[in-house]
Homo-oligomer: 344 residues x 2
């Protein structure tokens, strides 16, 4: 097989101010890099688009280093190995990599994980059996710890994290209440077995949420912040747990929100109701829970007890628009770019 000469990629052209716009990204073509010993040349099948990428585009310190302007946009990928200089990984293997928004990439072999397409569709390694699924699993079970009969609430509930949170909560015997944008997504939550689905766009959203949790909220899996959090906080029971894995509603914010300052009231709520608010990144739990996750979640998916939905966008050049739309909630299911290189 002759190797490709050109590598199409998407780089960070400028740091977004508020909502990212298309001009913050630049599609460029560069030579395909050379492979050294211990490395692989990868051809991207699928690129995962995830909210955390918005944080990496800013220069604010977060849990990961920001990207530099000009860097290839980061991201998880499912790739074909098209050249290998590592024993044990062969041309034709399919791997999970973190090779970003590009058609080809060189990766150290120790940074990829071989996928067995007989066990599960390779794309699930970007979703229900990958980082989003593990975020749901680890955050809910290690921090949320739902007990039978308790009420678990999750927002962005039709997305890859939220849908897994609700379905795992059901498996653990809890009530699951999902929040999503629009009637179509809410109908999907009901299909998944959520006990209630609330549309956060409804004018009486807060009242609807309160009515859906007559016994209060024991676990709120926080991945959005903003108006949803405002509606949830008064409903949290004593000893409620709030795993915080994302605040997508805040990521595009450019100014401090207007007063009054509600931080003291938040601390008072934490005190008087013995709340636990706990931020986390899934990587914290990889060492202790990843093997359990793969075992249990694969079985649940196989049994149909955890279902998942994908939103596939074709063509790397469409990744920026798809990413911008995701931050506005326009995707429906795990957002994946079919980079379209599988036919070459």
């Amino acid at each position: 097989m002759s190797l490709p000469a050109e590598n199409l990629r998407v780089v960070l052209a400028s740091r977004p101010v508020g909502e990212p716009v298309l001009s913050d990204f630049r599609v460029e073509s560069v030579p395909v890099p050379e492979v050294s010993s211990g490395q692989l040349l990868l051809r991207t099948r699928y690129l995962s688009l995830d909210p955390y990428m918005r944080g990496r585009m800013s220069d604010a310190k977060s849990y990961a280093e920001p990207m530099a302007v000009g860097d290839v946009m980061v991201g998880g990928t499912v790739c074909d190995v098209i050249e290998s200089r590592e024993p044990g990984i062969d041309v034709g293997d399919i791997v999970l990599a973190f090779s970003g928004w590009q058609q080809y990439a060189v990766a150290d072999a120790r940074h990829v994980r071989k996928l067995d397409p007989r066990l599960a569709p390779p794309r699930t390694a970007l979703g229900v059996l990958g980082m989003p699924g593990f975020t749901a699993y680890a955050g809910l079970l290690e921090i949320g710890r739902p007990q039978p009969g308790e009420t678990v609430v999750v927002a962005a509930a039709s997305g890859p994290v939220g849908s897994a949170v609700g379905q795992i909560a059901k498996i653990k015997g809890a009530r699951a209440v999902g929040i999503a944008g629009g009637p179509e997504k809410c109908a999907y939550l009901t299909e998944l077995g959520f006990d209630a689905a609330i549309d956060h766009r409804a004018p009486n959203f807060a009242e609807q949420l309160a009515a859906a949790v007559p016994g209060g909220i024991d676990v709120y899996f926080e991945n959005v912040g903003g108006a949803v959090w405002d509606a949830v906080l008064p409903l949290l029971n004593t000893y409620a747990r709030v795993p915080v894995c994302g605040l997508i509603s805040q990521y595009n914010r450019t100014s401090r929100p207007e007063g009054p300052d509600r931080a003291p009231a938040l601390m008072s709520a934490i005190l008087t109701r013995s709340l636990t608010i706990r931020g986390f990144i899934q990587s914290e739990f990889v060492g202790t829970r990843y093997a359990d996750f793969i075992g249990e979640m694969s079985e649940w998916v196989h049994q149909g007890r955890v279902q998942y939905r994908e939103d596939i966008v074709n063509g790397l050049e469409n990744a920026p628009a798809a990413f911008i739309g995701m931050l506005e909630g326009r995707n429906f299911g795990k957002l994946i770019v079919n980079v379209g290189m599988t036919e070459q």
Copy 2:
């Protein structure tokens, strides 16, 4: 022994607006109540004054029901039993009770705990070996979980909770940094073995605190809120734990603080640094840790590894002024009212 006829007591005269004032309390004299089967007549030796009482004076829902106007002010007490209608408790026994701001009280025998004055001075049951000490012990060890070499910061550090937090942190091999108001209290922290003592009244308090924690803060034991919390938050390390047992700086607040709204930034900090913020009331841990506490803490006190300081005010009629002063940080050590009935 002839029974007393008159019972002096302090009742809630009106709900405070902001800082309590003397007219929010009323000293009154009522007949000593009658004792029924299973009950005791108690004569108060010592009354404990604690910040949580401020919350009980308001009508806002908190972890405990508010007092009604006209109710006797609540509070822990050390009392002599002067009449007993319960087998196994004798006249002359000393008990820990929750009989409030009054000279005499009738209590159900099952609501008191006998104290052995040969094991420890009875007053310690209100402080280092009582609720404040247990608050420190349970919050630090169950939520803070300091590891050897980590840095623990506590405010109100010369008080009964803070001083125990710092000293237990040292026993567990952590660095202890205390925050207190004024040079005298800071000097006392150094005597107790704190690694650093910072005066929150210093104009460059935040800079001094940052300099005292070159490796950041791993555990912040929160009992004050306000400006101390503002200085602490930027210094919290990834995975820092914040047990929240009090927010004394907020208790007298009457209006929502001015903007910007810092609650979203607080949530962002929790997310990006994987913080744990956990409110608690010591009673949560009584079932699981109280026996450990009494055993360990008694030994540490006996060994001199945990020292304590008391601030004794004489006369029940002086309790309101002492309580108001405590909310302003004017006490120095565990504030106890010597009700002065021991000589009768």
